[in-house]
């Protein structure tokens, strides 16, 4: 099989101004409750950003807006300078280059680890390609590379449902990687992980920054301290503080609503 049809037209993401994601004046309300309230957030191309905030601060809703799951009542969400995320469907957004890891690890439990990556792989995803094309050698190579990166090489043929919690999280990150995204959204990657697994995850995520922009939502403070350059604190649907971990920790507002409690 030739690989002509398996190539995808790469959408050009204009990051000429250094930013890859622009969220401006985003408001989302559910039955009168404002989950996001006039949120402004900018993510630089290639940066690793941590987002923290107490429960109900709007972290997950923000991810929902970026990935097209939730439509904002007000405001704009731009990916690069031209792609308006509020007008796109989930799979279009995924194709444009935004990958998302859910809070609860979601992998395809009845498929093997290899098949999970195969399904996520960046390629033409219409029906006919799926029906008639097989993986090219190049694509198999990409999958194997990723298996090495996430440390699951020897589990390639294991059914994903049999993996441990930590391994499942890494598999999901691997599934994002083979999508070759420009922006990775990662929701609570180390929840429920052992100390050692947490360290390995920190290493993995740090190694991804630069090549990709990474946004991590996390509660675990030690973990954030170990990876973050820049931290954004959300509170009641808007940005409360932004800066280095040290700045944020010393910010009196933040101490009051979050760290102090």
């Amino acid at each position: 099989m030739n690989s002509k049809n398996t190539k995808v037209k790469d959408d050009f993401i204009d990051t000429g101004h250094g930013c890859i994601l622009y969220l401006e004046n985003i408001t989302v309300s559910f039955d009168g409750f404002k989950a996001l309230d006039d949120l402004n957030l900018y993510i630089d191309d290639g940066e690793l950003r941590c987002i923290i905030g107490p429960n109900g601060a709007g972290k997950t809703t923000m991810m929902d807006v970026i990935t097209g799951k939730t439509r904002p009542d007000k405001g704009t969400a731009f990916f690069g300078q031209f792609l308006d995320l509020t007008q796109m469907t989930e799979y279009e957004i995924s194709h444009a280059g935004i990958g998302r890891k859910f809070q609860k690890p979601t992998v395809f439990k009845n498929h093997t680890v290899f098949e999970n990556l195969e399904l996520a792989l960046h390629t033409n995803k219409d029906i006919w390609t799926s029906l008639f094309r097989c993986l090219t050698e190049e694509q198999k190579e990409t999958i194997n590379e990723t298996l090495k990166t996430i440390g699951l090489m020897e589990y390639s043929k294991t059914r994903a449902g049999l993996l441990s919690h930590g391994q499942t999280q890494w598999l999901e990150i691997g599934m994002l990687l083979v999508q070759d995204p420009r922006l990775l959204l990662i929701d609570e990657p180390v929840a429920g992980m052992t100390h050692q697994e947490t360290e390995q995850t920190a290493e993995l995520l740090s190694s991804l920054a630069g090549k990709h922009s990474v946004v991590v939502v996390e509660h675990e403070m030690d973990f954030i301290r170990s990876i973050a350059n820049k931290v954004t604190v959300l509170h009641e649907g808007h940005v409360l503080a932004e800066g280095s971990m040290e700045d944020v920790q010393n910010n009196p507002n933040v101490i009051e609503v979050y760290l102090g409690s």
């Binding site: 990935t67 989930e90 799979y91 995924s94 399904l119 799926s130 029906l131 599934m175």
Partner: protein, 367 residues
């Protein structure tokens, strides 16, 4: 392409599949024609339409398994697609009766009975087999496509989708029950004489219909096998397990669901069309909601998500049904209910799960 086809099965799998096909299309006819009637090996004539009927049901089960077992979309309205194929074939068979009906008229008997003077426009094409074949191949799929497009686009899932399909089959049943609709009302279409010039009473015609059904089932099985073994099949099972993840992985799940839903209806329509000449009647009771539910039970009992299981389930349940309707008709529904409940409780993988259990047992012992 050939290589991919061969790799669909292990050698043993291919031997089984072709063995079963050969059994149906070669051995049974041979035992019918060349063995004298006194011998216990003789296969009597009545077996063919009966087995043919089971094979049609097996094709229905295969179709439902694709959409339910593999994609996780439960349809309780496949009776509609089955009936569409059946009615299209029935209309052709009605028109082939010619003037040999009870009233010796150009028109089908029921139209004479209703005092209709001419054929309604939607009966025009059914004089021709080629046109009827086209309707059989296109109409169920087209109907399913439109229905599915609106249902899946609105992201209707799970029980809600199942309920809507029940409503669909019920509504169409009521429509077909009306005499004015022009499909024979509650009597449906029956008293067929011939198909393509061959008398339907002839054993050879019945045997040929059976052989055609067996071949169609075999080809549909290979097609389904190809689909579920391809990446498309893995996307379908992924949709069944976590659809949102599939969407975030960049797949337009609407297209995938619509594809398999339409294909399922297409296969079901063919099953209906093969069913009618072998059974000799099609009427609106095929669209009863309970009929469509029973179809889903075949798949559940046989084993969801395995093609062999669906075929096995349809076969075994219908053989049991034939036996019960003669021996103890009142107890059939109790039996079906108990069977369904016990399979759900004790054999979550269906009857085919027993075979898998034993074969994996054997493998383990070897290790």
């Amino acid at each position: 392409m050939i290589k991919e086809l061969i790799s669909l099965h292990s050698l043993r799998g291919w031997l089984y599949s072709f063995g079963l096909l050969a059994l149906a299309v070669i051995l049974l006819p041979v035992l019918n024609i060349f063995i004298s009637e006194e011998s216990f090996l003789h296969v009597p004539n009545y077996v063919f339409p009966l087995l043919g009927k089971y094979l049609c049901y097996a094709l229905v089960a295969l179709a439902i398994d694709l959409i339910w077992g593999y994609t996780g979309i439960l349809s309780l309205g496949h009776g509609v697609f089955f009936s569409m194929g059946g009615y299209a074939m029935g209309m052709y068979l009605m028109r082939s009766i010619g003037k040999e009906g009870m009233y010796k008229s150009e028109l089908p008997d029921f139209m004479v009975f209703l005092d209709w003077k001419e054929l309604p426009w939607y009966w025009y094409g059914s004089d021709y087999f080629s046109f009827s074949l086209l309707v059989i191949l296109l109409l169920p799929g087209l109907f399913a496509f439109v229905f599915g497009y609106y249902a899946f686009r609105s992201r209707i899932k799970g029980v809600y989708f199942a309920i809507i399909t029940q409503a669909m089959t019920y509504a169409l049943m009521l429509l077909f029950f009306r005499n004015d609709t022009g499909f024979g009302g509650n009597n449906g279409l029956t008293d067929f004489k011939r198909i393509l010039g061959y008398s339907l009473q002839e054993p050879s015609t019945k045997m040929s219909l059976f052989i055609i059904t067996a071949i169609v089932l075999f080809l549909s099985y290979i097609l389904s096998r190809y689909i579920v073994k391809s990446k498309l099949g893995r996307v379908l099972t992924a949709i069944r397990d976590v659809e949102s993840r599939v969407m975030f992985s960049g797949y337009n799940t609407l297209h995938y669901k619509l594809f398999i839903w339409t294909l399922s209806a297409f296969l079901c329509g063919i099953a209906g069309a093969l069913y009618v000449p072998q059974v000799g009647i099609i009427n609106p009771s095929e669209m009863q909601p309970s009929n469509s539910i029973e179809m889903a039970i075949w798949v559940a009992v046989g084993g969801r998500g395995t093609l062999g299981g669906a075929i096995l389930g349809a076969g075994l349940i219908n053989i049991a049904k034939s036996w019960f309707t003669v021996a103890a008709p009142d107890y059939w529904l109790y039996f079906l209910g108990i069977l369904f409940i016990s399979v759900t409780l004790f054999l979550p993988k269906g009857l085919i799960g027993i075979f898998d259990h034993f074969s994996s047992h054997k493998k383990n012992r070897k290790l």
